[in-house]
């Protein structure tokens, strides 16, 4: 599917910019205006555009703080899992034998847990809090990168240029970084894109269950959770964060698809 990706790119950058500049913007996400409790969206003041929540806090301000939470968790988790997973996968495939078997065993075990279930259990047992949510999500997310990096490395490790480098006495880690990593980067970046969307959803999911950020900090997931109690009188409390998540995830997924088409990942996967 050929999608125009200027629009998703624009929306994504808008969210990133809002998240980055949230601290310097005149936002008061925790400011309580008792006269505006559950106020519906109104013009013209921008803090009222999306209405107010059950405690009288501006939803637009909280939405921007939520974007900050969501994006920073996603960046941290994807970075950790990308580095850890790629390192382990590459090492496993490169060393082979016992270590590779160990890696495959651990990866198979983690994949046997369906979806976000393990993250929910981990976050639940570690206790609520953003830090624990990051830990739980990282423990679950590295596996995808490890599996991909391993398979990709296996297809490359016997190529001529790697053999040549070995014959020349190049140290292993130099071979890994200079001769293997660049060749397996493309599929890993695509995986990272979809993992990013996945983590955004997962973080919001954990927060929705009360396992992510703790009040008064804002997260899109916890905003939806608070909003479900007032849906009849103040549907904007659910609709605003709901569409925020949808817009962000949709844009990332569209970009991921475009990226996959451009890098023609299927060609690489087929030879694997």
């Amino acid at each position: 599917m050929k999608a125009n990706y200027t629009m998703p790119m624009f929306i994504l950058f808008a969210w990133i910019a809002l998240a980055l500049f949230a601290p310097v913007l005149p936002l008061h996400p925790d400011h309580i205006a008792l006269d505006k409790i559950l106020l519906s969206p109104t013009w013209p003041e921008w803090s009222q555009w999306l209405g107010y929540d059950d405690l009288g806090r501006s939803i637009s301000a909280r939405l921007i703080m939520g974007a900050r939470t969501s994006l920073s968790v996603a960046v941290i988790v994807v970075t950790i899992s990308f580095l850890l997973g790629t390192f382990l996968g590459l090492m496993g495939a490169w060393l082979g034998g016992f270590w590779d078997k160990c890696l495959v065993m651990v990866v198979d075990l983690f994949i046997a847990f369906p979806g976000i279930l393990l993250a929910i259990a981990l976050a639940g047992l570690l206790g609520p809090g953003l830090m624990n949510a990051v830990i739980a999500l990282s423990i679950v997310s590295w596996v995808g990168f490890a599996r991909l990096a391993r398979v990709q490395t296996l297809t490359i490790k016997n190529r001529d240029h790697v053999n040549a480098a070995q014959a020349l006495g190049t140290p292993d880690f130099v071979i890994a970084i200079k001769h293997i990593l660049p060749l397996i980067m493309a599929p890993l970046i695509i995986e990272a894109t979809f993992a990013f969307a996945g983590v955004v959803i997962a973080e919001a999911g954990l927060s929705f269950l009360g396992l992510g950020v703790q009040p008064p900090a804002a997260s899109w997931g916890s905003m939806i959770r608070d909003g479900t109690r007032y849906m009849l009188v103040a549907p904007h409390m659910v609709l605003a964060p709901g569409f925020a998540i949808l817009s962000l995830v949709l844009c990332i997924n569209l970009l991921g698809d475009t990226l996959r088409d451009k890098m023609d990942i299927r060609e690489i996967e087929k030879t694997a």
């Binding site: 046997a112 929910i120 570690l126």
Partner: protein, 308 residues
């Protein structure tokens, strides 16, 4: 040959189940600090703490605890709830039917949506049908169920009043949660059906069927769909796990009294034996469903060569 494969596959499944059990067993040791203290609170009397520690077997060496946990599970003994003091296995059995009904209904909805959508998109490739079907699928993938659920409640329960908001009372209350859970799967599935159909439609036997003058309905329904179904069944098995995990959130949204709701309730009450048992039950189901789809796949497609 099938028997050989079966034994090999069963063996690896048992191994994975053992690994899952071990990991779930270790979960309790992940609780920061002393799990007993977390469960009882800081004000508990030392005697109560010791009693709970003993009841949970936490005073034994780890290896012995692990063995006890394993043998317990082999006897369907999953311990006791810390709050209600009832057997965890009994609690699970009470909640299991609700989750089973919800996941089967969601799967049904997913298939009913995805099949026509995917076939339509494949047959009229690059047409407006194809494009709108794939845009719908993309939307479906990008809406998490905790957004979809409240949205459906708002429109169909609160504004239109067609279905109850939450709870489990009769057939009507099943519709919204099943839709919430089913749409994400429908989205993934319709993309798969489309891709699979596109591949099959280029095969020689499809051209042969058309050359024999069969109706388009006959060609698509009997020749193409049967072959396109194979990869779809595998995806269905693999996605069933995501469905079960999604049920945890969906059940919480709709107060649907299933395993997922039990798990979240127990997390909030710090009733760890129940949390462990829920994770175990859902993961076991997932592994067994995957095993089953693998075997069905082989039975359905005589072209699958086992020795490869």
């Amino acid at each position: 040959m099938f028997l050989n494969y079966l034994i090999k596959r069963l063996f690896s499944a048992v191994f994975v189940l053992l690994g899952i059990t071990t990991l779930v067993f270790l979960l309790i040791h992940l609780v920061p600090g002393d799990p007993v203290e977390v469960m009882l609170g800081e004000t508990a009397r030392p005697a109560d703490r010791e009693a709970l520690r003993h009841a949970l077997g936490l005073d034994l060496p780890v290896l012995q605890q692990w063995w006890q946990y394993l043998t317990g599970i082999a006897h369907f003994d999953l311990g006791e709830s810390l709050h209600s003091k009832r057997a965890v296995s009994q609690l699970l059995m009470e909640r299991l039917p609700a989750t089973a009904i919800l996941s089967i209904a969601s799967m049904f909805i997913a298939i009913v949506i995805a099949l026509p959508l995917g076939i339509l998109a494949a047959v009229y490739k690059d047409s407006i049908w194809d494009k709108s079907a794939m845009v719908t699928a993309m939307l479906g993938v990008s809406i998490p169920n905790f957004v979809m659920g409240p949205l459906l409640i708002l429109i169909f329960a609160l504004w239109l009043g067609w279905f109850p908001v939450s709870g489990k009372e009769g057939f009507a209350s099943l519709i919204l949660p099943a839709f919430t859970l089913g749409t994400a799967l429908a989205a993934i599935l319709s993309r798969m059906v489309r891709a699979s159909m596109l591949e099959v439609l280029q095969e020689d036997y499809i051209r042969a069927a058309r050359a024999r003058g069969l109706t388009e309905f006959h060609v698509l329904g009997l020749h193409a769909l049967r072959n396109a179904a194979l990869p779809v069944i595998t995806i269905l098995g693999m996605q069933f796990g995501a469905l079960l995990a999604g049920a945890v959130i969906t059940e919480t949204i709709f107060a649907w009294p299933g395993i997922g709701q039990l798990m979240i309730e127990s997390i909030q009450k710090r009733d760890y034996p129940i949390v462990q048992a829920c994770v175990l039950l859902i993961s076991f189901t997932y592994v067994l469903i995957n095993l089953l789809t693998d075997l069905i796949y082989i039975k359905l497609d005589p072209r699958v060569k086992l020795d490869q």
